[in-house]
Amino acid sequence: MDYLYYPGCSLKSTGRAYEESMLSVFRKLDLAVMELEDWNCCGATAYMSISELKAFALSARNFALAEAQCKELSTAELVVPCAACYLCLNKARRYLDEHEELREKINRALQTANLDYHNRTRIRHPLDVLANDLRPEKIKDAVVHSLSGIKVACYYGCQIVRPYADFDDQKNPHVMDDLARLLGAEPISWPLKTRCCGGSLMGTAQDVGLRLSFIILKEAVKRGCHAVITACPLCQFNLECYQPKMSNLYGESVNIPVLYFTQLMGMAFGISERELGLQRNFNRLDTASLSRISAGGEHVGI
């Protein structure tokens, strides 16, 4: 086993396609992953608003489980695809590293459940793994349908690159663009790649959430993209599921597929649509239309 995998709650429900496609792509690239046994919720943004110590303890329990599951290894490599989980776990790790008093408190609490945290867990995003643990040729070699002619808007969202990630540039990340290029696609250059989609505001203050997501989608449409690709289940949900509502509200139609970057990779690798969870997307960009676009037969209206 190379990596432990922490799905988080979203990848088991609204973001199921992300889990399915990520596992398929990892399998294709011979990266062995195993799900963390009995993982618990990361706490997301909500937990931190009520009790920070309990939020850190939630993450710390996951670390302790990961370390127990990787006893024989010097570090437990935990792959975390969801942006909110990635941020929460990374944040907890940083705070526990930097503040000794906090670490002792959390460790005392963990010991009541016979668990221990020894700072042996590394939090990895799949983008980080694909970009840094693999030779680029390995990805290039796996491509069977080149995505040439496909224009994609790589949308990173907030919580992967900011503020704790160290595998990419926080102000102008490029890892996903590099991956898209390896697949033959053409990533556009745009300034909104890390602008907030509204996150959970889509459920709580929808006026604000809709507006933030609309701005991102419209920018991608105006630049003639065939698809927006994301690396976060909440971004994907916000950008995809509210398109009809936005079109009504702002009187301007937005209709653009929003895929996980792993789904795009899978299509280039020739993995079946079902294994990539493509049937779960509302606005489909399937392999057939991809090849039509590649052949120059289909254009996106502006």
Partner: protein, 209 residues
């Protein structure tokens, strides 16, 4: 477009709470708020500041001045979507997102958060669900949120909910971890602990102020 802006109330010096800045600064790294130069980079970077009642920069100034009531009952802290733009861009390395969280926690502890606003309600419901089951169940969480804040909204969202269910992306079941007792023990050990200090922690003992 709904906005939470309104005429500002007049506030008097005598109403300020001089312990409030220290309370907020008591989180790890929190004393950085005293380094703030009020440059406004945070407000400029914030994608949500146009919809806030106080901008992030104003909020820091108000915290430092001791406008406790206004800060804790504002919508600003709850509207923060935790995108961390301000934290990354701040020239003085103030972790503003974490300051927002500290203010949210204090508002809940003191019971002064905006009661009818859905964001704190969602946070509380999420907290409860994870505390007892170890995982969050998206479908159930949303139903509880809408029932408590705006049942009409639930009717409006039912179409989307149904379409998600058809795609296998939403279920009504309860997600849960196996060893709930283990998690309960950890949480109980932290029940009385808190990072943001209380006002009384700063007061000199044996003397009335």
């Amino acid at each position: 477009m709904e906005k939470w802006k309104s005429w500002r109330k007049i506030r008097y010096e005598s109403e300020l709470d001089h312990y409030f800045p220290d309370q907020i600064a008591s989180i790890p790294g929190g004393n950085k708020i005293f380094d703030c130069i009020q440059c406004g980079t945070c407000s400029g970077m914030c994608p949500i500041s146009p919809y806030m009642d106080y901008t992030p920069r104003q909020l820091i100034a108000m915290i430092r001045a001791g406008f406790k009531k206004d800060v804790l009952s504002s919508h600003t802290t709850w509207l923060c979507a935790s995108c961390y733009s301000c934290t990354v861009e701040c020239p003085k390395d103030i972790r503003l997102t974490d300051i927002m969280y500290a203010a949210k926690r204090l508002a809940i502890r003191e019971g002064v958060y905006p009661r009818r606003f859905p964001i704190p309600v969602l946070a509380a419901e999420f907290f409860k669900s994870v505390e007892s089951h170890g995982r969050s169940s998206e479908g159930r969480l949303l139903v509880r949120l809408f029932l408590k804040t705006n049942p009409l909204m639930m009717l409006k969202q039912m179409g989307l909910g149904f379409r998600l269910w058809l795609k296998g992306r939403l279920s009504a079941g309860q997600e849960s971890i196996n060893r709930k007792a283990e998690l309960r023990n950890i949480m109980q050990a932290l029940e009385k602990e808190r990072m943001v200090k209380d006002k009384t922690d700063f007061m000199p003992t044996g003397r009335e102020i």
